[in-house]
């Protein structure tokens, strides 16, 4: 069971983070102060950290910098009320792996954390991705399902690759947007839904099992449903 350290000074927000992560099967430990958080994180007992950017006793950035200086490379998801793009860049430059702005949806937080944990376990080196009867060959840039070639546009190919790399996990619209075009912000439009629908039509041909599941208000889960 992955162990997560949550450093968050606001008790209610912290409780929600803990509860959400707990419901997804993580062992979560919560600390309210930056100093305690740093001490705990330095023990190296945790697989990932959710870190509030603005803590009463210290700046979250200092904690990230210190951890990286000490050679701790666990994924860190920074959570902050500061949504300025500069703040995000600063957070990521300091060594944070992802940045989430308050107010956030708990499922978005879990989705991002899971992607970070999975990235650490790394499926990045794989050149052939498989989910059920769907195959994606990253070298030949081809996709096949149940023996049938799928004709995908370059964007659809990238979208499917992201889904398959994160199969079984919730991926949010902003995560998909970032994966496709490299810009991290919520477009507030139906752009992603349209792209997913187009991809879905190509992947879920009549006679094949559904692979895309829409999670209301959050995003999608890709993979075979039980």
């Amino acid at each position: 069971m992955p162990r997560i350290l949550t450093i968050e000074d606001d008790e209610i927000t912290a409780r929600e983070i803990v509860s959400e992560l707990d419901s997804h099967g993580y062992a979560v430990e919560w600390v309210a102060s930056g100093e305690d958080g740093l001490c705990k994180a330095l023990t190296g007992e945790f697989d990932a950290i959710t870190l509030d950017r603005m803590l009463p006793d210290c700046d979250g950035l200092n904690i990230v910098t210190r951890l990286r200086q000490e050679g701790r490379d666990m994924p860190i998801l920074m959570i902050s009320a500061l949504s300025d793009v500069d703040e995000r860049v600063r957070g990521l430059r300091a060594g944070g792996d992802d940045y989430l702005t308050k107010p956030f949806s708990p499922s978005e937080m879990v989705a991002r954390l899971e992607v970070l944990l999975r990235r650490n376990r790394s499926v990045l080196q794989q050149t052939l991705l498989k989910v059920g009867d769907l195959e994606l060959n990253l070298l030949s840039r081809s996709a096949r399902r149940a023996g049938q070639d799928l004709r995908l546009s370059p964007t659809q190919f990238r979208l499917l690759e992201f889904f398959m790399r994160n199969a079984g996990q919730v991926v949010t619209r902003s995560m998909l947007f970032e994966a496709l075009w490299g810009y991290s912000f919520d477009p507030g439009t139906n752009v992603i839904d349209v792209h997913v629908n187009h991809l879905r039509k190509k992947v879920e041909q009549p006679g094949t099992s559904p692979l895309f599941q829409t999670i209301r208000g959050t995003g999608y889960v890709f993979g075979q449903t039980e």
Binding site: S105, Y183, P187, G188, H195
Partner: protein, 453 residues
Amino acid sequence: MSSVKLSDSWRTTTFRLVLLYGFAFGLSVIALVTLIYFHTARYINQQIDQVLQAESHSCHVIPSPEVPRFIASALKLDVRKIEIFGLFSPQGEYLSGNARHLPGGMVWDGRPRSIRVDQRVIGKAGETSIRALVTILPDQNILLVGREERQIGEIRNILLEALAGAAGIIVLVTLAGVRLSVVPIRRIREVQAISEAVRDGEIGRRFPVSHRNDELDMLARIVNEMLDDTEHRMRDIKGTSDSIAHNLRTPLTRLRALLNRLTHLTEGTGANTVVLQATEEVDQLLSRFRALLRVSEISGTMRQEAFGEVDLASILKNIHDAYAPVAEERDIELALELPSISVGKVLGDASLLFEALLNLVDNAIKFAPDAGRVCLSLAAGPVISVEDNGPGISPDEIHLITQPFYRGGAGRSVPGSGVGLSIVAAIASLHGFDFELTSVPGRTKATLYCFKR
């Protein structure tokens, strides 16, 4: 800092004053020297006249036979060899003196006159200027008494040399003045460069203040104090805005989280639908709150420091890639027009420019009719335009459309945060670009001029 051109200096008051003073000073010196010359020449002439008249008078009063001896004696005493004497018979024949002939053009009235004579008159070569008088002695002989005006010529030469020296000094002083006038220009150029930097968002820049404490330094101090004040206020606003964001976001996050938990708790009950509706309402509230904060963040930002080279064509391709399927859903043709040759890169923030164009294209697609047309184009300049064949914006509303939450005319029935164009305007302003919206019924065009005004 670039060098200051002479043509730039010419426009300055200092430069013009220096030239004017140089010119006036030169004229005064010439006038003064000329005056000195004429007065000196007149004075010398008066002195010569007195001597000539005294010598003439002596010849009148001494007995006639003594005159040749007087002349010989006077010539003997003339060590500078400037005296001219000539005694001639009433028929003009030479009798005595160093002048062998009577010079032409003389009036025999005993009054001194200046004339130019052939020096052969006095046994020399060339021409010279003399002051002389011709008078008739009591024995009817004719007496010429004169003196070469060599002294006046020498004084004139001295004064001309002085004038030439003065002219040289005037030129040097004027050049020094011009050089000095360039210094303030250079400083004004610095001020100009810093003003532009401040206008472009580098609010921390300050005007240089020298140790001279001159009027430019006084002005620089005043403006620097003003900038300190503005920067301070901007930081206050930013701090307040951050504080509002932090204080509102945390309770909103809690509310969202509580609703999320309630969704799980009410799963399978009738209340679940209501909770989901409430969650959607909160999400809508959060989305508007985020969008509004976004405008203020972009407007109050000082991000130019993080600017880099941005390939606009690549951004346009990405936007087209993102929105082509969205347009296709409503049979709208989303055309992408890129120039055949590269329009180069601009200095900016790729993420913000992407956001601006995304908002423009999103708007254009929303307002275009089904099976309509939206054209996204990049032209030399670089200039980006997004054109649609939607209903258009009325002239009364077009200047209001970039205000946050303004939803006039056709906009009222179209979903959206209501701050899309405000975000575009804020991003354009941050980059120093011009954003223009033009509209006639059936054609609306948003243009982003991607170069500094």
